[in-house]
């Protein structure tokens, strides 16, 4: 039962990035089963991400369809989600969909957060041609988790999942 519940929960797609599962995104913290009662623990990506409502509903309906009558979705706030939680498989799927995956997390340091005005941004590779000669064109995109880039080599514009 636990294996089945976990398989179902892991394979629920993200509504904004439907090629990505919850396991790919790295937001699934735990799945526990007691009889027909399933507790799924999730960590939201951004505080205001509206996709979390859709994900909760999708989890409940898919687990109910598989015979789990009583589904509880719990929020786990700490540790907060980081783009490092995206799996290698998730990164491949993002790139295949034309979205540059996040590079690596900024190392957390003690003390005040420095302004990025004085730091180099991440080295983002074009998902179309692989070139590293890319430039960021906007700080945000259609969702809170992405920004916009353009490739100077092949001229393709593309989205990139931000490093947080």
């Amino acid at each position: 039962m636990l294996v089945r519940a976990r398989q179902i929960a892991q394979s629920v797609p993200d509504p904004e990035l439907p090629m990505m599962t919850l396991a790919d995104l790295g937001i699934l913290r735990d799945v526990a089963v007691t009889g027909t009662h399933v507790v799924v623990s999730l960590t939201p990506t951004y505080s205001g991400c509206p996709a979390i409502a859709e994900i909760r509903a999708e989890l409940a309906s898919q687990l109910a369809a598989a015979g789990f009558a009583d589904v509880e979705v719990r929020t786990v706030l700490s540790p907060p989600w980081t783009s490092d939680f995206i799996s290698p498989e998730g990164r491949r799927k993002l790139a295949a969909a034309g979205i540059a995956p996040p590079v690596s997390r900024h190392e957390k340091t003690a003390g005040p957060v420095p302004l990025t005005l004085f730091a180099r941004g991440p080295q983002v590779h074009c998902p179309a041609c692989g070139s590293a000669d890319t430039v960021r064109t906007a700080a945000f995109s259609g969702t809170a988790c992405k920004d916009l880039y353009r490739c100077r080599a092949c001229a393709e514009p593309f989205e990139h999942v931000k490093e947080i």
Partner: protein, 293 residues
């Protein structure tokens, strides 16, 4: 795919009720989180503190949402919408935390839609209107620089819920501050006209800055839980000075905006702008109490 009506196409029957659009039907952002109040912490004070930080985010978010369809470019519209969404998410968590901390079990909607102006605890900086885009940039720079310094310290709060909200919020506000700082430099070090507009924006927000660092009685009582407002000032001054130096701008020398009999936003005493904002924010919920959407 054939649907009789557009409504049918976007709606869905679920076991938990009828959902008609993306993102609806989501009621408790703290579902499953341990919301017990730590030993030695006054639940009422903790709730009030959560309202202060939650109202800052809610009211600033609403002002940012008012920019949608009015931003100078599509990219900036997207940016402002995303910043507003991050702040709304922080507000939802904090207002929900308030209702669990004082045991009243009031929901985020009870707080957002059914309190009067005097019950809102946000700083006045969050509620004022922006004369133009440069005015918004100046206000967002001040707001996010201050809030980042605050959340950074709150990560060590004795309340684990506040600490967790702060830890996620730090990443979000870091990004907002960078966005505002980059526009400050672009406008300040841009044309004569853009520079004038930004100087006017800074002059408009400068009187509201002193209030950010004045500790309220609740914050003083919540030692180890709240971030002391006065402690945030040095970091705030350093960051603002760095950005203004890059933008070749000076911080305007203007007097702070006095409160009424010494009372300001944290005491529920607001500027004229607040009433109009709440009228817009609350009118639908008050016209149809109990409605869900």
């Amino acid at each position: 795919m054939g649907f009789d009506t557009a409504y049918e196409a976007i709606s869905e029957e679920t076991d938990s009720g009828h959902r008609w659009a993306f993102g609806t039907g989501f009621s408790d952002p703290l579902a499953g989180v341990d919301t017990s109040v730590p030993a030695g912490v006054d639940g009422g004070d903790l709730a009030t503190y959560c309202l202060m930080l939650g109202d800052d985010a809610l009211i600033m978010s609403h002002r940012l949402q008012q920019w949608l369809t009015r931003a100078p470019e599509l990219e900036e519209e997207t940016a402002l919408a995303n910043i507003a969404l991050d702040l709304l998410g922080q507000a939802r968590l904090l207002l929900t935390r308030a209702g669990t901390a004082d045991g009243s079990n009031r929901t985020e909607d009870d707080y957002a839609f059914f309190r009067t102006e005097r019950e809102f605890r946000n700083v006045r900086l969050a509620e004022v209107t922006d004369a133009d885009f440069a005015g918004l940039v100046a206000r967002l720079l001040v707001f996010s620089t201050w809030r980042l310094a605050l959340l950074l310290r709150l990560q060590d709060s004795a309340d684990p819920v506040l600490a967790a909200v702060a830890e996620a919020g730090v990443k979000e506000i870091t990004y907002h501050r960078d966005y505002a700082a980059q526009w400050t430099i672009r406008l300040g070090d841009g044309t004569d006209y853009s520079r004038q507009r930004l100087e006017a924006g800074l002059a408009a927000v400068a009187p509201l800055v002193a209030e950010l660092f004045v500790p309220s009685a609740v914050e003083e009582r919540l030692t180890g839980v709240a971030a002391g407002p006065a402690d945030l000032r040095p970091e705030f001054d350093v960051v603002i000075a760095q950005v203004l130096a890059e933008a070749r701008l000076d911080w305007p020398a203007v007097a702070g905006l006095a409160g009424v009999s010494g009372q300001a936003g944290r005491d529920g005493v607001h500027t004229e702008a607040m009433g109009y904002l709440l009228a817009e924010l609350q009118s639908v919920a008050r016209a149809m109490p109990g409605a869900t959407w």
